[in-house]
């Protein structure tokens, strides 16, 4: 991907090979913090995850701080901006998604794999109001998020390819249809989690029924130019 990546170590002025072992500190969250700070960092992330899930990504920072039992200053010290916090919290959920995709890739039945991954990701999303918003927030390449995303995209492409090859998935299915399902699924969040879950299940079932090769009639409208990454919101006044 990046040109000259391997050659760059030669730029190091110290000719000796005694490179400190962790110049590029490993991106392990909260490394080198004091024990209490690490503890608070964890509490903040848990509180943030819960708050985002319940009330969406725009929940006040002070509410997260209160919920975590820390002062606002502590929250801002660990996560200077809201985006930092969202990215961190969402990295976990993104990892879960990636795991689901990888799991599905191991399934010998392509159609079942396809259905499973779509169903489960939507179920996750339905249980978490902030999930979709975080998708749409499109924060800049925050710390490995982009790489994970393309990994997931490639996995999905492979799932789609196999499912089409097996004949169960319609030929006019487009990868953008997955985004379509996710966006649509994000719209059905109601106040009652149980209702949301049921509605999500039914919606996904409808969509899968449309995706499955069968005697449906009529052509689909053209594919909208939606990419997983480039979704932005309206700017302020």
């Amino acid at each position: 991907m990046e040109p000259g990546g391997a050659a760059r170590v030669a730029e190091n002025p110290s000719g000796a090979g005694a490179e400190p072992p962790a110049v590029r500190e490993p991106p392990i969250a909260g490394r080198g913090l004091r024990s209490d700070a690490r503890h608070n960092r964890r509490r903040i992330m848990e509180a943030a995850r819960a708050a985002f899930a319940e009330r969406g990504i725009d929940v006040p920072m002070v509410a997260i701080a209160r919920r975590a039992g820390v002062g606002p200053a502590t929250l801002y010290r660990r996560f200077p901006t809201r985006e930092t916090l969202v990215a961190e919290v969402f990295a976990d959920e993104m990892a879960e998604c990636a795991g689901l995709v990888d799991e599905a890739l191991a399934d010998p039945d392509p159609w079942r794999a396809f259905c499973t991954v779509l169903t489960e990701v939507c179920a996750m999303q339905a249980a978490d109001k902030g999930f979709t918003e975080a998708f749409l927030a499109a924060f800049p390449d925050s710390d490995g998020f982009d790489e994970r995303r393309v990994h997931v995209e490639h996995g999905l492409d492979e799932l789609i390819r196999r499912a089409k090859e097996s004949g169960r998935l319609r030929a006019d299915f487009a990868r953008e249809d997955i985004v379509l399902v996710l966006l649509a699924n994000g719209g059905i969040v109601t106040s009652d989690p149980e209702t949301t879950r049921a509605a999500s299940r039914r919606l996904v079932a409808h969509m899968l029924r449309s995706f499955e090769s069968a005697g449906g009639s009529g052509e689909l409208p053209p594919v909208p130019p939606i990419g997983l990454g480039q979704l932005y919101r309206l700017p302020g006044d």
Copy 2:
């Protein structure tokens, strides 16, 4: 609500029966206002409709006032609360929807009527960010809104009945599926209106394909308990 409401007219010291002719003033918008006030009221509603469509229902009141070229006080004098304004603006769009339904009821082809109304309502919704939010806002029975809603519901029920009778609409289609489509469609609003439109069209086409009687497989999950009217949001902290 308030005790003795009707009896209070007896308190009027003038014993004469010269009751003003319009005790229950007819609910015609802006009746009895001075000409400039009526003019401003109209400008406010136009500005509000545009602002709601572009930026959603939570757009600042002062932004609407600025856009209408009036002061904040004037806006609040006409519409004491945001809900008043939303209800008023949305009543218009609700009337459009009702018109679409009535039009469809005149179509001799039940399946085409069903498809048309769903497609067009979703197209309206896709062009207006505030539309869905207003649906979900669930303001109290504001001035004929509820009656209009049940009217639309009955019209939809009739459309569904005919479409099923014609054999084109699956028997396991539920009226709640319409709400499902509307909610889902509300989720696909992106920043670019053209993209939103295309995505909406494709989503609706997928849904219709699932709704149409054909060789789809598998049973649908149970119907979620969603009613057109009782959708609320999470309360504040």
